[in-house]
Assembly symmetry: C3
Homo-oligomer: 480 residues x 3
């Protein structure tokens, strides 16, 4: 285990502890000038900074916001005595001046790549289906979708556009999406979690922090955490969490409850903190069919391609065993794996196969067919909820928001919609469609007659039915 952990650490976290510049002895004159004015103009952020470690280390406004004259977004702040270049956005590249290792870990994570969704077809929803080109700004003379600007981009990150004099296009900023594509080309936004300008590590360790994005119908991790025993303990014992301790090693600095950070990022007696949040997860539950994380990393060209899922699982187990015995943890994983497999085999794979056959029978524009939404929610919403909830022991989300909704929509929406497509194809008078309808019907029949689905046709295996009846009778007999 020690060896495994070493491997994980050695993988790409192994860079020597970032060479932190020595803290300045006094606050720079330029920063003093910033503060003098902003103390009146925007007192809140000056106070935030005044309560931060940056203040105590004489890292002021200018130290972070300074820019090179050649930087795309550099400008000279009007009215300042000291004519220096600054930029509005402090990018991960800027933070890396002092926080090199954190930046390297973050850059290797899916978090920093969240903005890449903007170039994907998923974008179709926000840009076309929900949106239009009605929002015209200097940076988007042809218009851009306000649904993307106010929705997707706020979590995933915008591609920031610089106008004249360092001004940022208002469609692309304010934006603290974790995968923001910055004027300097860097990907990410440290302020997504370490918010303005206190940079409080305590705040970042609170579950609400992750809940800015990890919530809602498609990945309700915050809601699941809240209903789990872990969340229950957190809210009852928040005052015992020592959230502001620099070291914050689970089992040493606190033991009342884990937060999101504890399990996915923070230090244990055996592991250092990491800013690559995928290093302890053993399933990637994002796609229609769950895959191992190294496959997802490989697809994105990330170094995690060389860190197999079982090493990551060991790293997570190392967290668990601070409070749970090894047998307990192993048994938990048996349960979780069981749920992922159930979802993959019963719903995801048949669903994908069926959807593939619908193509010739659908209207051509994606999301112009009702079934597009039904299938999308099956895997993207309900299927994820079930899997995420099982991973975090939230039974309500596993069942009622997960497998129950999956089954309800699979049988009472998806199958009927498919059957309707078959009917329409059959009556289309178009030979190609009739052929496609036939193929689809054959697949429907195959799926519904399979072991997992034949109950629906009232063809439950007689042996299984007898066994179910017997079990129920035996169970009831205990209470007579």
């Amino acid at each position: 285990m020690g060896g495994l952990l070493l491997l994980v650490q050695g993988g790409f976290l192994g860079a020597a502890q970032a060479a932190v510049d020595k803290a300045p002895k006094t606050l720079s004159e330029t920063s003093k000038e910033c503060v003098a004015c902003h103390k009146k103009k925007t007192p809140g952020i000056v106070q935030h900074w005044g309560g931060s470690k940056h203040y105590r280390a004489n890292v002021g406004c200018y130290e972070c916001h300074k820019a090179d004259a050649k930087d795309k977004d550099a400008f000279i702040h009007d009215g300042k005595k000291t004519k220096v270049h600054i930029s509005i956005i402090v990018s991960p590249k800027d933070c890396a001046q002092c926080h090199e290792q954190e930046n390297a870990e973050f850059a290797a994570s899916h978090h920093s790549k969240a903005g890449r969704i903007l170039g994907s077809l998923d974008n179709l929803l926000a840009e076309v289906v929900e949106g239009n080109n009605g929002m015209v700004t200097a940076g988007f003379p042809e218009g851009v979708s306000a649904a993307a600007v106010n929705g997707c981009w706020q979590c995933h990150g915008s591609q920031v556009k610089v106008l004249k004099d360092g001004e940022l296009d208002p469609a692309t900023w304010p934006n603290t999406g974790i995968g923001r594509i910055n004027p300097d080309g860097s990907e990410g936004s440290c302020t997504a979690c370490h918010a303005r300008h206190r940079f409080s590590v305590a705040q970042a360790r609170n579950p609400e922090n992750c809940g800015k994005c990890h919530l809602g119908p498609d990945h309700p991790q915050k809601e699941i955490y809240d209903e789990s025993k872990h969340g229950i303990q957190f809210y009852a014992n928040k005052d015992k969490m020592n959230l502001d301790r620099p070291k914050w090693v689970v089992g040493e600095d606190y033991d009342a409850a884990p937060t999101c950070a504890t399990c996915h990022m923070s230090a244990t007696p055996k592991q250092p903190v990491t800013h690559d949040v995928g290093m302890r997860i053993s399933w990637n539950n994002r796609p229609p069919v769950s895959v191992r994380p190294e496959k997802a990393d490989a697809k994105m060209g990330l170094p995690g391609k060389d860190v197999p899922w079982d090493d990551r699982r060991e790293a997570m187990k190392d967290v668990c065993t601070n409070c749970h015995n090894g047998d307990y943890v192993d048994a938990f994983y048996t349960q979780y794996d069981g749920l992922v497999t159930l979802y993959n085999e019963k719903f995801a794979k048949p669903g994908l196969a069926l959807m593939a056959l619908t193509k010739p029978l659908l209207k051509p524009a994606k999301f112009s067919n009702r079934i597009d939404f039904v299938w999308f929610e099956l895997w993207h919403h309900e299927g994820r909820r079930a899997r995420h909830a099982a991973s975090m022991m939230g039974p309500d989300y596993t069942h009622w928001h997960g497998t129950y909704e999956l089954a309800k929509n699979f049988y009472s929406e998806f199958i009927p919609e498919l059957e309707e497509l078959v009917r329409e194809g059959e009556h289309s008078g178009d030979a190609a469609k009739q052929q496609a309808a036939k193929a689809l019907q054959a697949k429907i029949d195959e799926v519904l007659n399979s072991r997992d689905h034949r109950w629906y046709l009232n063809k439950m295996d007689p042996q299984e039915a007898a066994q179910r009846k017997k079990a129920a009778e035996e169970f009831k007999a205990r209470y007579k």
Copy 2:
């Protein structure tokens, strides 16, 4: 800006600070008698009061509950030595004895008028569709709907009915709805926010307080706040909020986070606190198509009709700039306005026009047609969620609970229902219906062929399609 703020303040908040009666030197004998008995009977409320500012100012039970013998709801409390008239309900008129300015501001707000919905047709839902006349009380011998009593009225306020001896009809009380219509004719309920009997201003500043009503499918402001950076900061820093400071000026008394009160009501270095919650909002997102708040105020005969939205926006910006630079705030408003416009133009206006044409084709009773619910939720639930969430920077609600649901239901429920109505009309054999069906079909065609919707017919502007493809390719090229 100073001038603008002055205007807002001068508008109708300008009454001299309420003439607060001098606090009594000792607690009245009558109140002492109340306390002596209630200390045993209802210890909780006596303790609440004992922890309140009222206690410290010798404002006791009788000072607030005293009544004139002629008051509709006046009665003499059984068994009291001191035979004085009291009433159960302490109305805003009663509170105004000391809190004159707060009452004046409140009386000018939509909050105090929330009970007026009871006389509107919206009422149809709770009284007829969901309810019946099954709940018979002394005040409602013909019966009243328990869905209205337990639902609508608890947020909007009941019209309190007085039975004999000051007794209140149980269908109308207990009730703390913010627009309650009181026996003395006044509108409102201060206890809606300043709860029994501690009247704690700290409690009223907590987001949960507003969340009694401002939550749920139709206006989830509490949920949106919770997921916003503002909420994240609040929950992480609640102990730094100084919520119990009398003055509570943002940037002076606290800076960790804003709560609902901070932005909509509380003092800034430049603005006093106001109990007219609409004075800082620049869109009224309640109706199907968003309007400016002065229009909504004019419709209700409120003094706010003379306070234009841009003055209100300036008042809000004054709050924002305690922590955000002016450019940031301006850019935020560009984003928010963009979302409101997108919703108004793409969904609300076409939806209204289409619904207007369905009338001859629908069953006559409102909500007896499936499309009644579909359209109602489009604007009343999903459309509001998108707009409210954009206003408060909650991307999950803007997108997943907002524009995504809007689009999904517009294209996969609303349009198909309309098309079904057309089909039914065409086959009705009724000339008027056939005519109506034709008109509706023409409008459907017009909407679907418009710039915002033609993607649905696979008629996306080739230029736009090419541009989308190019953008995606360029985006992906960055990562090769």
Copy 3:
């Protein structure tokens, strides 16, 4: 009232205060050995225990985990110096060694019987509709449903299977479901609420604790509490709740707010704490039609069959009156009863009658018909939400998640599905089905023409219509 309370207490709580074994003077040698090793292996739980009352009373690991060699799940922990038998699960029978009265109360409650659902047909959902036999473990060689394992069982409790050497089958453990069926035959899991290994009573009094199970679409008590005035007060005043006081008598030890425990379990000046959570509820809102709790208890063979609902209501009123006057409480119950009656009469009874007539017209497998889900959610989800929310004064859940959804789905899903079944039956060419269709149509007509539903046919009683119109006009006249 005193008499009534006495009766409740005397009923089956009357066992003399549990004979608590004298606390040991020192920690046992065996427990010391456990601690010595687990301090390193699982530091968190040792720290939890170190903060517990058990620690202070020298009740250590072995005192709770000790087992008899004959116990099904007994095993000798490898590598221990002291070769003693222990078991992983500490069952209510084990806790009862010291906590006899708590155990007796708990054993009489529905909580302890939650596992019995596993033998019911409700199980069909998780085992068959949502699940499959894909999860194979040593204890389930024929496979078991991962949806049941990760979903239902985690709240309701698993039937724990013991493998060799005290090992527990991973499909059945980890499991803290409150009705867990333990290897020793006992029912329940104290750790469901009193979590590992701090056993903190303060934590158990937090609303989040109950929210592990009492939340979600089918019984959102946690969400309702959170939006109620009670929850608002709790979150604003958590620091004044004295949650860790041993006695914790409402009105004496705290008065800021009630939590779930306050109303359903904890002590008042007149009542002791009880672990039978049903002793203060006057409606059982679990089934399709609400029943009185003594009927539900009788059905399960529980001693509560002899405690009538009005006695239980008096017990609850005793809690309420610590902060509310008796009139207030009585009027609240008028409102709540009104809502239960509205639901029962308008939706539940007609719904049941209609569903009974659909049987010959449905596909035979339960949940293979869309209407199975529609009806299930009407009573199991929406109907419960309305009733639970009225019971706890949460207007948003009463209305929007309750009666609104009920009405929407009754009229726009349930009725149309029934009508479709009629049409299909009529055209089936099968005489039995045609007969059934006729009977169903007659019932639909009867229901829709009844007083509660005729508005749907635009047949509102002219008198009622006139009255509604008049009321609206009078109401509006006030504001001209």
